[in-house]
Symmetry: C2
Subunit: 353 residues, 2 copies
């Protein structure tokens, strides 16, 4: 392999890209993130696993079906009400594995640390990872630490990757939404994004909102065991919020989605913060919520099960999958009107996770 | 979970650490890296998998034995003679999985990109990952992209994690060195570290040395299939070089190691560069070499097999495992003397991988 890597049959997709340099929005979970995935990563790594575009890959190794997922965490600040980058890095990957109904088992942890980072802070973060992994029932089994010179990284970034065991035979993925399905969200939305914003020093507003960062694997496993094949899809609405997740799944399933605004659980203090900051809660990140798309016949049963769980007490049905193959997400407003909830475009909140 | 994470039964190990902030040497693969692992990460994530201290974890999922590994790559510069951060990120994790004799199957890829990074460079790097993964026979099946503001990361960092299938029942790990074993290195050492140093703009010296970055999984799998249980350990001597890898394995196995200086393959131009820069090649990073510790009775057979492979043509026996439970690595010099080859201490080469 030479310095000048030669493509064989693949040409640089730069002409297909809207920008010729990376923008903050390429990491926001919105349209530019999609463009990067669809025009750059997918053509390069073309394979049957990536093509499903879920937040995890379903792979077969030996005789076992596994879920495999990764996320890097660059959240700023590192410590925030409700958690820190360490607990977030455990919960995030546990939840990505959970979206396919897998049982998360093992995590890796890769640290990129800026020279001069306080050892005591590293310990607090690692200790939170310990606590979070104990609570989620996963083991951190392998890791790596890199240190870069001062000014070459912002304090600490963590990558976690995870392996889960898929013990069911159901089709639970973002391309499996069926008209008539109900859409459940497991609790109040937009807490994480607002908590992070409030924690940023440059913002003057104060709020009591805490991040919802939490492991959802017990909830999802219980659901898969009891409601089984009637669960059609699950997704944790992180970057880009509920809006991005529903748009992605609707498009992948060639269906549309109708949401009822007055059913969507938003804490009053989150609603207020969103109004002050000019955000729509549907676009704000969550780190302890799951969207669960379930056959209408099993929706009440699923809701009942979900509400038994620590992180599902405020679960509610927020909408329904509808006919219409254009992947549209429509919101019925409290006033009786309708508006389209598009994929997020342009600058969202950087470094929210 | 609250902002102030509470330890339960674990206390902060800061008093055990030599420094109260992270130093570049904590990422160098030497003594401070060991301290971080042994005093901070291991007590936190205490489990039977981590305790083997190999560069991968051996886990059982369902009925399959898997190898699981991760590495973050922060190499500077991103492009260097013999590869770039993308090919390096594929080879590195493939090789870590190979150290246990696993068959690498699937990789994840997590990107942390600085705002403003050129799209064309990202494509060159991703295309190298495609090429490297094709050559190694692995699939990149899941990924994640984060973007941070200008100045908050240095261009691009990549994390890869990997899953391999372990199809053998042998004990191949760093704690399994036996007195009398031969130590094989699969080719010339120190090429990668010297190539990176030469590529750094601030360094004025020029050399024709290329990085040895390469996938070693075909070589190691062949060896496991043909030499089998006579292979006692394998390790790719990356950060900290041959010296760190042999010290770690000798200590883990409670044996000592004796190396013959005149048997260690070092290219003349690498030797010259090391002399100019004041480095010992034994401490310089490799990214396409494997140390293979094999029962003496099978050493010649193993060497013969290794030399059939593209990346093993210059393999040679460089030393032997000896009695003596102190984990010492001793070098017999060309002049007939002896010197101790310690674990690297203090500042090694930052951002070499």
């Amino acid at each position: 392999m030479s310095d000048e890597t030669q493509s064989e049959g693949l040409t640089c997709p730069a002409p297909l890209m809207k920008y010729d340099t990376i923008q903050l929005s390429h990491g926001s979970g919105g349209l530019l993130s999609q463009e990067l995935t669809n025009n750059l990563f997918r053509p390069a790594f073309d394979n049957e696993y990536l093509s499903r575009l879920d937040d995890h890959a379903l792979v077969t190794v030996g005789s076992s079906r596994l879920s495999f997922s990764t996320d890097s965490y660059v959240v700023s600040p590192l410590f925030f009400p409700g958690g820190n980058i360490g607990s977030l890095a455990v919960h995030g990957t546990v939840n990505d594995l959970s979206t396919g109904g897998a049982r998360p088992l093992f995590l890796s942890a890769g640290y990129i640390i800026e020279e001069g980072f306080p050892m005591a802070d590293l310990w607090r973060i690692v200790d939170s990872m310990r606590e979070a992994s104990l609570k989620a029932g996963v083991k951190i089994v392998t890791g790596d630490t890199k240190v870069v010179d001062r000014g070459k990284a912002d304090k600490l970034f963590i990558n976690t990757a995870g392996i889960g065991l898929v013990e069911h035979e159901h089709e639970i993925h973002g391309g499996n939404l069926q008209p008539g399905d109900d859409i459940i969200v497991t609790g109040h939305i937009a807490d994480h994004g607002i908590a992070i914003l409030a924690a940023r020093e440059e913002l003057s507003f104060q709020t009591s909102v805490q991040s919802d960062s939490a492991p959802l694997n017990k909830l999802t496993l219980d659901l898969v065991e009891t409601v089984g094949a009637k669960i059609h899809a699950m997704r944790d609405p992180t970057r880009g919020g509920v809006a991005a997740s529903l748009n992605e799944m609707a498009a992948a399933s060639s269906v549309s989605v109708c949401l009822a605004e007055n059913q969507i659980p938003v804490r009053p203090e989150v609603q207020s913060a969103c109004e002050i900051l000019g955000f729509d809660p549907l676009y704000v990140a969550n780190e302890g919520k799951m969207l669960i798309i379930v056959d209408h016949s099993s929706a009440e049963n699923a809701l009942h099960r979900i509400r038994q769980h620590e992180y599902g007490k405020d679960a509610t049905i927020i909408g329904r999958v509808t006919e219409g193959n254009r992947g549209r997400v429509v919101l019925r407003t409290a006033l009786g009107g309708e508006r389209i909830v598009d994929m997020p475009v342009g600058q969202q909140l950087p470094r929210i996770c």
